[in-house]
């Protein structure tokens, strides 16, 4: 197969020029958290929604706000609470007494970037309404179906420590998020810089440096990133190792995995690795891209057994073992 890698490379170079600008703009507001920022861009470029998990105060919401400000897009934040209703998200029909007719009032989901803050605080029907819109990329209000704007990206957050009064997302719905990020604490120097920056009178603000059209063009370029059959097989090997660990010499994991990753994992791993290669300004995917993104794609798709939980082995431990075992092409 003849691939014009130079043409692809040139396109990637051209279309990825905004990455530095957007990173610099978000960096004005956010200290550190490079991992989270890079993953948000991957979600944006690969058209995949992201679930962020981390304790409160790690700038999850602020990062998403800064990103949306840098992209010149519509941004909506929805605080999920136990009394939230599906109509509060997707919108509803309102009766106009003057005209004697119903008019549509679109909900906050009609936005380019939607931050679903503490998604596990709302009951299943509300989560369901959001997740359906995420999947279908359209919303039906009354008799009319409205497409959601492009780009459309949902970034949901959840707190891993306060579980009382929450409604954990079912596995089937968690599977719809392309990435699940585990946001960690900043290091000492970052903490110092955060403290200094956030205690100033004039808080830093991100300004729009990228248009939504540039994001859409970049998405097209991401699709053109070359992925070799060897890399595709590597992806399938990793996903299959979550289902049949014994076939990959991982006998010790057989009793620890209740359910392996779904085919969505393969799809998202392929897409996210292309986006990762794009961010590295490379026209083709390497095993580095797969290894870099695999944990975020797989950690919420590998369901561990009670036995694993009893032994305090997490899904991340399992995925790490798999990644470290499967042979790189």
């Amino acid at each position: 197969m003849n691939i014009d890698i130079q043409a692809i490379q040139a396109k990637i170079e051209r279309e990825s020029a905004f990455v530095e600008k957007i990173t610099a703009e978000v960096g004005k507001v956010i200290v550190g958290q490079n991992y989270m920022i890079e993953r948000l861009l991957i979600g944006l470029l690969a058209d995949g929604h992201i679930l962020l998990e981390g304790v409160p105060g790690l700038a999850k919401t602020m990062t998403v706000k800064a990103l949306s400000a840098a992209i010149k897009t519509q941004f909506q934040r929805i605080q999920f609470t136990p009394d939230l209703l599906p109509a509060d998200i997707v919108g509803t029909m309102i009766y106009d007494q003057k005209n004697g007719s119903f008019s549509t009032k679109k909900g906050p989901i009609f936005s380019n970037l939607v931050l679903a803050d503490e998604i596990n605080r709302s009951p299943a029907k509300v989560q369901s309404a959001l997740l359906e819109a995420m999947q279908e990329r359209q919303v039906t209000i009354g008799d009319t179906t409205f497409p959601l704007p492009a780009p459309f990206l949902v970034l949901a957050t959840q707190n891993p420590i306060e579980q009382e009064g929450t409604y954990p997302l079912p596995e089937a719905q968690v599977d719809r998020f392309m990435l699940k990020l585990s946001v960690g604490y900043p290091d000492r120097n970052e903490e110092l810089e955060i403290m200094r920056r956030m205690t100033r009178v004039d808080l830093p603000q991100a300004s729009a440096v990228v248009s939504p059209q540039e994001i859409i063009n970049a998405r097209r370029a991401v699709h053109e990133v070359y992925i070799d059959p060897k890399i595709e097989n590597y992806i399938v090997d990793i996903v299959f190792a979550t289902r049949k660990p014994k076939e990959y010499g991982l006998d010790e994991l057989a009793d620890l995995i209740a359910y392996g990753a779904s085919p969505r994992a393969s799809i998202y791993l392929s897409m996210a690795s292309k986006a990762h290669a794009f961010l590295s300004r490379r026209g083709y995917v390497t095993p580095e891209d797969i290894r870099s993104i695999a944990m975020d794609v797989l950690r919420h798709r590998v369901i561990i057994t009670y036995e694993a939980e009893a032994e305090e082995i997490s899904a991340e431990d399992v995925v790490r073992k798999i990644i470290n075992k499967v042979e790189v092409p």
Binding site: I5, Y284, E288, R291, K325, E327
Partner: protein, 316 residues
């Protein structure tokens, strides 16, 4: 009266004797001697013998009568192979009884019926000097199929023993040979393990890539070259380089204390190989030769003669 009582006693005595075999009895002319003939058994296999017994009995002392004539019996379909005789005196019910017994061991000639003709016995009463004549009954024997001889299956036992012994011998020989082969293999592998890693992987590099081939698939060769390098370094530094990416290889080798020059050479080869393997673009043959040379340098060997399309043309 006395004679009647004696005769009755003898009759009771003889009736008490249980003879299961074929038996015939006769009484002497003076009712003094009683003769009985029996064959044991009366059905005799062709390859076995039967015993024909002629018994004479009378009341009183053994020398009361003198047996003047006692011929061997005439036999049909039989051969007399052995004879024996015995005298005996017993007291039964307070009365003395004398007995003379003649035994003939006979062997059949053929299947069917066999006969022992009655014999004529002549005797004389020593008290009266009178002579008497007595004849025994004719006996029939049925000759049946021969029985298997105890040693008739010996040849089979011997054959099986020989076969079993042969099998055991073959097994032992094979086992000894297998042990020798295993020992030789171990010795060879031990000898092979004494070959340096560089030599071993140099040999493998030669096997994997032949630069003299003019139509060498450069991208595929890059993949094999990177594989040899990764396996060599994994063995040398005991690192999991097979499941590591190129950037991870750098970190792992640095941690293992590899020299900077070796790390730089490794990355130069692996990065070129990554482009060849994953970019989809056809790599230059010169790039492969450069990477090959670097790897040769790392292995400290000049493993293969240079060649390829250009060299082939030059050779022409």
């Amino acid at each position: 009266m006395r004679i009647i009582r004696i005769a009755a006693a003898i009759a009771i005595f003889f009736s008490s004797l249980g003879i299961s075999s074929l038996q015939a009895q006769a009484q002497g002319e003076d009712e003094g001697i009683r003769v009985s003939a029996s064959a044991q058994p009366n059905e005799v296999p062709l390859n076995r013998t039967a015993v024909v017994t002629i018994r004479l009995e009378w009341a009183g002392d053994l020398d009361r009568y003198e047996i003047t004539r006692f011929d061997n019996p005439l036999v049909e379909n039989l051969n007399i192979i052995e004879t024996a005789s015995a005298n005996q005196v017993q007291v039964v019910g307070g009365m003395q009884v004398a007995r003379q017994e003649y035994q003939y061991t006979v062997k059949p000639d053929g299947l069917g019926m066999a006969y022992v003709d009655g014999i004529i016995i002549r005797y004389a009463d020593r008290e009266t000097g009178k002579e008497y004549r007595l004849a025994s009954s004719r006996l029939e024997l049925k000759v049946i199929d021969p029985l298997p001889e105890p040693g008739s299956y010996l040849w089979l036992v011997i054959l099986l023993s020989i076969l079993l012994s042969s099998l055991i011998a073959i097994y032992l020989v094979r086992r000894i040979r297998a042990r020798r082969a295993e020992a030789e293999r171990l010795a060879r592998s031990q000898a092979a393990s004494e070959v340096s890693l560089e030599q071993k992987y140099g040999e493998r590099l030669r096997e994997e890539i032949d630069l003299r081939q003019p139509d060498l698939d450069v991208n595929a060769a890059f993949g094999r070259l990177a594989g040899v390098l990764r396996r060599y370094l994994a063995a040398k530094y005991s690192l999991p380089l097979i499941s590591a990416t190129t950037s991870e290889v750098r970190g792992l080798m640095a941690e293992a204390g590899a020299e900077e020059r070796v790390i730089a050479d490794t990355l130069a080869v692996l990065e070129s190989a990554d482009i060849a393997k994953f970019s989809g673009a056809a790599q230059m043959r010169s790039e492969l030769e450069r990477a090959y040379t670097i790897l040769e340098g790392m292995l400290g060997t000049d493993t293969a003669p240079r060649g390829g399309a250009e060299s082939a043309k030059r050779d022409d």
